[in-house]
């Protein structure tokens, strides 16, 4: 029977925990499961430890252990599941309204500003909902993810208020929009795309 060494177990543990976000008690079992799979593959002698590890990770959690952690939280917490639906539905409505508003405005058709107003109004709600939804397991999240959440939600809310003020000809609209866009461009976008790149590399 092939047995993994402590160093190999530590390596698997570090690889799994690098994508952990909730740390909700499912990790030791996943570690044991991945170890069992690797031992099974190495027992046959067809593959090396590194190859078996890569294959086991793809089989068990190709998108990181966070996916299983979230699945567990959703199963045990119905409220979180409902909230997830509301957050994504709000996101969809926001994107649709803003896109339609821009199109109508660009074509100089009637009703563009109504869609823009509705879109940015819901964007404010969406930003706040997304922020409260992302607070699950917040202390355990890596620093760059924390900054991404705060800057993303902050930028969304400030831009939404700024553009709404602009449409309604209220004061401070320009400065609010400027602050929101700077937050989005200088903090949110770089971290978001860098993390997406990291995830894509890690899943290969």
């Amino acid at each position: 029977m092939y047995r993994l060494s402590n160093n190999e177990i530590n390596l698997i543990h570090d690889k799994l925990m690098s994508s952990s976000i909730l740390n909700n008690g499912i990790e030791p079992e996943i570690l044991d499961h991945v170890c069992c799979l690797i031992e099974e593959k190495c027992k046959i002698g067809e593959t090396s430890f590194e190859q078996a590890l890569a294959e086991a990770i793809i089989l068990v959690c190709p998108n990181g252990i966070s996916e299983i952690e979230v699945e567990k939280s959703l199963l045990l917490n119905y409220k979180l599941s409902t909230m997830k639906k509301v957050v994504f539905f709000c996101g969809y409505i926001t994107a649709t309204c803003i896109s339609l508003g821009f199109m109508l405005k660009a074509l100089h058709w009637e009703g563009g500003w109504i869609f823009m107003l509705a879109g940015f109004g819901i964007l404010l709600l969406y930003s706040l909902l997304w922020f409260s939804y992302s607070l699950a397991g917040f202390p355990q999240k890596p620093v760059n993810e924390k900054v991404q959440i705060v800057s993303g939600a902050g930028a969304g809310a400030i831009i939404a208020i700024g553009v709404t003020f602009k449409l309604l000809h209220y004061p401070y609209a320009d400065i609010l929009t400027l602050i929101g866009v700077v937050l989005l461009v200088a903090l949110f976008f770089p971290i978001f795309f860098y993390r997406s790149y990291e995830k894509s590399v890690a899943s290969k």
Partner: protein, 120 residues
């Protein structure tokens, strides 16, 4: 090589808890990897349980009080063995009966002329 289809995954979702309970009633205690291997062997590799579904389902059954777990240290690893609780044993019988009735109903809907189908 067997591929799990989207449809199969959806069908399995509602029955996974009952499958786990049945396996635990047949065996004194099991851990996650063992459950996946048992299902694979018993179903001739047709049903492949995804780890992403199995562990959340196990934790849900444990939170509902139908199964209990004990941790065994194997070197640096922790292995969690699951077994049925007394309410779990009772619930397993009811859940299996419910699933069997449901399968029979679906069968009578899909294959109406099957001899075993008795109209309600």
């Amino acid at each position: 090589m067997q591929h799990e289809t989207m449809n199969q995954r959806e069908l399995l979702k509602g029955t996974l808890g009952t499958i786990i309970l049945q396996l635990l009633s047949d065996n004194k205690r099991l851990y996650g990897y063992e459950i996946t291997q048992l299902v694979k062997v018993k179903s001739n590799s047709v049903v492949l349980i995804k780890e992403g579904s199995l562990y959340p389902a196990l934790h849900k059954l444990e939170a509902d009080g139908f199964i209990k777990s004990e941790e065994v240290y194997i070197g640096k690893r922790v292995r969690k063995y699951y077994s049925l609780t007394p309410p779990g044993k009772k619930y397993t019988k009811a859940a299996i009966l419910e699933l069997q009735n449901f399968i029979e109903t679906i069968q009578s809907l899909l294959i109406p002329n099957l001899p075993n189908n008795v109209p309600a």
